[in-house]
Amino acid sequence: MPLRFKIPIFDVKNLNFIVNGQKILSNISLEIFHSEYIAIIGPNGGGKTTLVRMLLGLEKPTNGSVKIFGKKIKNFKDWNKIGFVPQRAAQVDQNFPATALDIVKMGRISKRKLFSSESEEDIQAVNDAMIKMDILDLKEKMVGTLSGGQRQRVMIARALASQPEILILDEPNTGVDTVSQNRFYALLSKLNKEDKITIVFITHDIGVIADDIGRLFTINQKATICNNPKEALSCEDMSALYGISAHLVHNHKHEH
């Protein structure tokens, strides 16, 4: 087993976050290792987004520490290993002069060396990402005119284009149509299994991906870490999390 497997990618210790005297996150410790597929669930306002933003240094914890690849965030430099789709990614200013292609290409900017122009590899990566998200036909459309779901797919494609080692997704597929969603789940699973990409995925749609994920974090101010997601999805645990009786896995009506 190579050494890198020993150092966690993210190493969170005793993280607390308090705003205006209100505890948002309470004493969270967790580790995320290379090529894991982790799902984060929890009720609205549970603190999922806040936690992920702290992992990425976008928000400062009240106390506790976050390390990336064993380094403190402020010393971490290899940001282009990380692809991130924030929760509010699709909020685009109507006038912003960007085609879908422009946006996906942004995924390559940090890979590019100073003064060098677009390489074959860049073009290839952008194209692949657009094919994966099925948005090749939107290439020349202005993002401001895209539908909500189309835009969300463009944002995911941008993150994929940077060919990250770690992909962090905060409810990336809200508003994406059902068929595309299923295709996206399959894609994530493939990226994780075949390309060994580490995936951290915040979602409310846990039932669908329960088979794919490795570990499940449930965040509701505190964190619970389940190494066996299927087991965790039993009604008892969930009702504790959401406060009422909940059927997460089996909550959809269907015909057989």
Partner: protein, 265 residues
């Protein structure tokens, strides 16, 4: 040669005008997207503080104005990024603040042989060779920086947080951008006046945005608009005896109106 170019001052005016049109339109794209459209007004008034200070301390007003403008631009960027205030509100606040400070310095420091406000009015027709050299030598550096980091600036304008997570030095580049803009503005106001530099930064970009094309084409269009307004404006002002700066502004305004009508859906 045609009549219009037979005067040296006209040659210099064309040269300076085109130089500034390029600088203003290239930096203007990012300025408009970051909702900093009024930055030239604000920095011009900050420059006044510099001028007032320089007059009291008997320094060279131009360079003190440049320094104060850059400091003010940093303050704008600091307030926007650290406190996430509305950028246009910050500009309004700093404009009022600068003007108030300038007025108070004047009232305390007394003695100027020059109207403070005359500093805000330049004329493209009285550009000197020295002015052109200053603008040119700074302009090359500014343009180089703007072009090298164009994609980064663009990404940042689109989404700062995602840009930061992607490994772009957002903070550094933000400060770099406002510094470049502040220097362009501070150098230009004395030469061509606040009116013209403000108009050339904003209007060509907004006109170009109406065509709803991608980034590259928007930038190119905006540069074309800026340069043609300078050329048209100078020509009209020559043949119809109109004030040059104002005529250039009316030309770029006409291009803007035309873009609106042309792209109205």
């Amino acid at each position: 040669m045609i009549e219009i170019f037979q005067y040296e001052f006209m040659q210099r005016a064309f040269l300076a005008g085109i130089l500034i049109a390029i600088l203003a339109s290239v930096s203007g794209t990012f300025i408009v997207l970051k909702r900093y459209s009024m930055i030239s007004e604000t920095l011009a008034h900050s420059a006044l503080v510099g001028v007032a200070v320089a007059l009291v301390l008997e320094y060279n007003p131009l360079w003190v104005a440049v320094v104060v403008s850059v400091l003010s631009a940093w303050l704008i960027e600091y307030l926007r990024s650290e406190f996430s205030l509305y950028s246009d509100a910050i500009l309004a606040i700093l404009l009022s603040g600068s003007l108030a400070i300038a007025v108070i310095i004047v009232s305390l420091g007394g003695e100027f042989n020059n109207s403070l406000f005359s500093y805000l009015f330049g004329s493209i027709l009285s550009v000197s060779n020295e002015n052109i050299m200053t603008i040119f030598s700074f302009g090359i550096v500014a343009l180089a920086l703007l072009l090298v980091f164009a994609k980064e600036f663009y990404f940042i304008a689109y989404d700062e947080e995602v840009a930061q997570i992607s490994g772009i030095k957002v903070k550094l580049l933000n400060y770099l951008l406002v510094s470049i803009v502040a220097i362009i503005i501070a150098l230009s106001i004395r030469v061509i006046g606040t009116l013209l530099i403000g108009a050339l930064m904003v209007i060509p970009t907004v006109a170009a945005l109406q065509f709803r094309v991608g980034f590259l084409h928007t930038s190119l269009l905006s540069m074309v608009f800026a340069i043609s307004s300078v050329i048209l404006g100078m020509t009209f002002s020559f043949y119809f005896s109109l004030p040059s700066g104002a005529t250039i502004v009316l030309c770029v305004l006409s291009i803007f109106i035309f873009s609106l009508i042309f792209n109205k859906k």
